[in-house]
Symmetry: C2
Amino acid sequence: MSKKNLIVGQSGGPTAVINSSLYGVVTEGYAHPEEIGTVYGMVNGIEGFLEGRILDFKEALPGDSLKDLTHTPGAYLGSCRCKLPESLQDPVYPAIFKRFEELNIGWFFYIGGNDSMDTVSKLSRYAAQIGSDIRVIGEPKTIDNDLIHTDHTPGYGSAARYVAETVREIVLDANVYEKKSVTILEIMGRHAGWLTAAGALARKTAGDNPMLIYLPETNFDQDAFLKKVGECLEKNCNVVVCVSEGIHDKNGTFICEYDSSVGTDSFGHKMLAGCGKYLENLVRSKLGVKARSVEFNVSQRCSAAMLSRADQQEAIMAGRFGVNAALAGETGKMVSFIRVEKDGKCAMECGLEDVNEICNEEKPVPAEWITADGTDVSDDFIRYASPLIQGTVEVPLGEDGLPRFVSRK
Amino acid sequence: MSKKNLIVGQSGGPTAVINSSLYGVVTEGYAHPEEIGTVYGMVNGIEGFLEGRILDFKEALPGDSLKDLTHTPGAYLGSCRCKLPESLQDPVYPAIFKRFEELNIGWFFYIGGNDSMDTVSKLSRYAAQIGSDIRVIGEPKTIDNDLIHTDHTPGYGSAARYVAETVREIVLDANVYEKKSVTILEIMGRHAGWLTAAGALARKTAGDNPMLIYLPETNFDQDAFLKKVGECLEKNCNVVVCVSEGIHDKNGTFICEYDSSVGTDSFGHKMLAGCGKYLENLVRSKLGVKARSVEFNVSQRCSAAMLSRADQQEAIMAGRFGVNAALAGETGKMVSFIRVEKDGKCAMECGLEDVNEICNEEKPVPAEWITADGTDVSDDFIRYASPLIQGTVEVPLGEDGLPRFVSRK
């Protein structure tokens, strides 16, 4: 069998461990020198690849510097938001495969979420159509945790740890004054409330702050919300509420749309910002108490200081598993996680799922994990999410005393 | 000499190390059993004290739990925003000293910023007026770093580390796409730009992001800003800008006031929020590029994960130094830091300053540390701030895998 080269790309929004998945793919690529020649990276995903922008990891990250990927946020290779055409007759497909052939690619790994799995699906189907033996494997990634057919996704654990730790810290900050106050925490998640639900992990005892948690899986009623907050203020001087950025009323109107102007991103998704700010103003004006809001924003997906070690290690494991699957002949698959019990503890094993079934689907928080009044999550959620946020990562520091990250030259 | 008791309170906004100062005071109190009896804490500062709310540290935080103060954000004792009357003839003063006498207090320590030093000033002057031998010492605290007569203030180093680390992470996040973008980071600081300036510590090399830094010490011109951002976009696809929440135009109008509604807090301070959001919209509409904004918000002052070890240790040292100063007969003083060179390295020693000169004064970033065009800080600032953010703190985890914090029952 003649040697082939490997290429890996990153796509979609970054997470704290998308570079750990990359590290897993690259190191496993290096571990099979009889079968795998050069390990290439696509710069800015399939979009940059089409412009000829690639790198060779041996040159880009020589020696120990490769390891720094495991704690570097962002997407080392750069990303793109490119959706390939639906028709496999489109000339972009032969263009991509011509490039693959020129580079003698045998294996292609794409690390990303929903939209990236769509790319994996299309490229693997096109390969089958033209009889190419290039293996195409999807490596999951999304802080939203909304991919189906997997216990969870790499990136979620660290984002959930960020949310849990930060909520716990802000609860302490909110408790400082003896004056009735409401703090609204706006957490990422357009359609799935997984990350907002992680606010529940911040509680030390039942009834603790955050006293209320609202996910986009249920309809949000402003009057019921105000009533509930009022009841909480009777029990606790300082009330902390977690809300997903994507909460909406029963007609599907986003709560943030009750506020000022709303834009759209390049995919046509509505740009959500401000439901926290809107609810802050609502609480202040209707309940007459001190109110503030905090939008957690991008630190949720790029905090190295709050990396979950479990998440980091799983991302590396998934990266490696994907390479071995491709070497074993698999293609058109996404690496998944399967929850098992090992020595009485929760552990994760990797599996493979048909990428065609996964792309363009979304997994919401199950209805049975949300309380009947839609203001909290159940203990089932806590049991599910707790193992995913365990462990911290010691990030090496540079000469300036700040975390040592790697970036492309 | 008969034993007297010690009491300590916290006041004003919390910082990541206000509880480390408290730890310093309490442990040093314990270290002098011949002179100091019980070590009390005021709950919710002088306001709670007047309502009789105190605690005994031996009961509240027995054994090793006391040490957990050194990584617990918020204000363990609770805080208040209470400004004592200007006239020392006001009946509140005899009321406070009657309580002091009942509790056999010999030493009172107040950990806080400007407004708290005002309390220290008034109580020490009242003590002198009535011939009381109660020693009153101020322990500095503010993330704003705006107290005069001290090299810096406890709380600033950790907040500055949070800013530097978070800016570095967000720069990586912003670099992910190959599409012109501007990211505006809004950082705390109403009148003093110390914290915003810490964004400069995130740079790895000159010219790196954050490419522009705007402090409230200079007037902000929107046209000049847009021109500058445009120039930066020629050099770098993704431009990151740090702005202080308190930036204002040459007439003193806050930039955020160009936006929607603005409230005031209980001190009559204008409540600033939104200059980041305003500039995001300005850039998008005037320059036609992708723009987003991130408001750093309260995590700047309550992040345990990004504690500066230097800051934590200095806060403990200042707490201890204050107790020894009081035991030596000092009163009406604030503990200060003096920068010295030790073995060729920067080190801090504690000193004492007349609290009457400090309260109600503010220290801005020196004009000579701001570049002529007001869009950056100089290397002098970097040399000043770098030692203050050094070192990380390993925060012990609880059974749930999240940081183990202490709070009042």
